[in-house]
């Protein structure tokens, strides 16, 4: 029997582990990956001050801290199910069942797919898969790739691939297909890009962000948008071209690229073949909430947070007694916010376990989450703060409705 079990050794889980173990609680962290750090491991980008955010170093640092505080960390172990029995949470792996009074779900995010004909061919992978192969395992996903989907994550990973000597021939849209209206619509994609414009080392985008704020200008911008695209980190970005099909027999050999109208419709006869040996699908991220769902947490769909999120309060408590959440399971954001949320969850669990005098620190940690969010170099969803507000409101509504006694 542990005081605390944490599922997920990403930035949220590791920071929560160090926090609770430092308060004297007995803590077990379980993760199915072979290394600690979660999706932080693959991250590598230049901060506004010119230094690099090196995910491997940050992960090692968080791991060391959790380890030194006395938390037990078990890797390579999948959690299959969780269940409440009396006052105890049961946590099932293939071989063992663990018990705890406080259970933190820090399972992070998964990638949303953006299907394209041919996307099951070997050599087609999610953009995160390419990031992990390159930065974590140091094997090139291929020699020459095409990234389908133009969004912040795709742009960041394109630059990482290039840094590692992998050629990215193009970042381009998927053909509109009934399931991707926003991601395949040139104007909407351009609009999203403007939110991350300050990060892009591209004059066109940066200037564009100034004069393209009004919608009319965006219409003009996309109409006169250079058919040859523009370049970010030297990588061609196409908002007026879309992949209609991935080609290959036993594996990826090429993509078929067509010019599209400003509304995303393919212009017939414009197809060209671009050869490549790998293709990345960049469909965005959504919170990985399956364990909260099997436990029976109430959810709310919040697009600003990337999908369904388990309702929770500012102290990271869910509606189920002894069940907590932290990190990207509560909405898609960067690793620094996940770390800050882990601290709050850790303090809340310690406090609920009986550690006295944590009230002020919890309050302070909640403010720190907010500050970290405000200082983030970019947001996956520009309206993330609105999303957080919705969750807060829905939580309060639920509490009001469910406390008649």
């Amino acid at each position: 029997m542990y005081d605390v079990i944490i599922i997920g050794a990403g930035p949220a889980g590791l920071s929560a582990a160090a926090t609770t173990a430092n308060q004297g609680l007995e803590v077990l962290v379980v993760d199915e990956y072979m290394k600690a750090g979660g999706r932080l491991l693959g991250q590598l980008y230049e901060e506004p001050d010119g230094t690099y955010w090196n995910g491997i170093k940050e992960s090692n640092h968080l791991y060391e801290r959790a380890n030194q505080s006395g938390a037990e960390i078990k890797l390579g172990t999948s959690i299959l199910n969780i269940e409440k029995s009396g006052d105890v949470w049961l946590v099932y792996t293939e071989k063992d069942t663990y018990e705890t009074s406080h259970l933190l779900l820090a399972t992070g995010a998964a990638e949303s797919p953006s299907p394209v004909p041919g996307w099951t061919l070997p050599g087609v992978m999610s953009v995160g898969a390419a990031q992990v192969m390159t930065n974590v395992h140091r094997v090139k996903p291929g020699k020459r790739g095409v990234i389908i989907g133009v969004n912040p994550l795709a742009a960041v990973i394109a630059s990482e691939l290039q840094m590692a000597g992998v050629e990215v021939t193009a970042l381009t849209l998927p053909q509109m297909n009934g399931l991707n209206e926003e991601a395949a619509h040139p104007k909407q994609v351009m609009n999203q890009l403007l939110h991350v414009a300050h990060m892009a080392p591209s004059a066109l985008i940066r200037q564009g962000s100034k004069w393209m704020k009004p919608s009319i200008m965006q219409d003009l911008g996309i109409t006169f948008y250079p058919k040859s695209g523009f370049k970010m980190w030297g990588i061609p970005v196409h908002l007026r071209k879309a992949v209609t099909e991935i080609l290959g027999d036993e594996k990826v050999a090429a993509v078929k690229l067509a010019t599209v109208k400003p509304n995303g419709d393919v212009i017939e006869g414009t197809e060209e073949i671009i050869t490549c040996d790998f293709v990345c699908i960049a469909g965005g991220l959504y919170p990985l909430t399956e364990l909260a769902a099997v436990a029976g947490c109430p959810f709310y769909l919040v697009d600003e947070l990337g999908g369904y999120v388990p309702l929770h309060n500012e102290r990271m408590e869910t509606a189920l007694d002894g069940l907590y959440v932290a990190g990207n399971i509560t909405g898609i954001e960067g690793a620094k916010v996940a770390i800050a949320q882990g601290v709050t969850a850790g303090l809340t669990m310690a406090s609920n376990h009986g550690v006295q005098g944590l009230k002020d620190r919890i309050e302070q940690s909640i403010e720190e989450i907010e500050q970290t969010r405000d200082n983030a170099p970019f947001h996956f969803h520009p309206d993330v703060k609105k999303g957080k507000q919705i969750v807060q409101e829905k939580w309060e509504e639920m509490m009001a409705a469910e406390q008649p006694l």
Binding site: S126, M133, H137, K140
Partner: protein
């Protein structure tokens, strides 16, 4: 082993402790102990990890972090392991799963 990244401009080199040999569909390859099976295979230019059970369409890694189960292989007779999550060990016997319509073709590409 041309596909490995050995000198990254920003990241420190990763520890590649021990070179090990393993079998994939009966052929011998080399990789590094502790790296995921999927990474070792990709470094040997192998992308196809299994064939879809019904259609036989070839599949490789998709998510690379344990979510999609596209990379499942049989390791030392244990079925359904995710190649992207399973660390490589000396002497492992790894087998593709599903239908194997054209195993010779990929073998030829990597060997001839």
């Amino acid at each position: 082993m041309s596909e490995r990244i050995t000198d990254h401009p920003v990241l420190d080199p990763i520890e590649r402790k021990k070179e090990v040999s393993f079998l994939f569909n009966g052929k011998s390859y080399k990789g590094y102990e502790g790296e995921p099976i999927a990474a070792a295979l990709l470094a040997n230019n192998i992308r196809t990890l299994r064939y879809h059970e019904e259609s036989g369409s070839p599949r490789g890694i998709y998510c690379n972090i344990g979510h999609c189960f596209e990379c499942r292989v049989t390791v030392n007779e244990k079925q359904g392991l995710r190649a992207c999550l399973t660390p490589l060990k000396e002497g492992m016997e790894i087998q593709s799963s599903g239908m194997l319509p054209t195993p010779v073709k990929e073998w030829r590409e990597t060997h001839v």
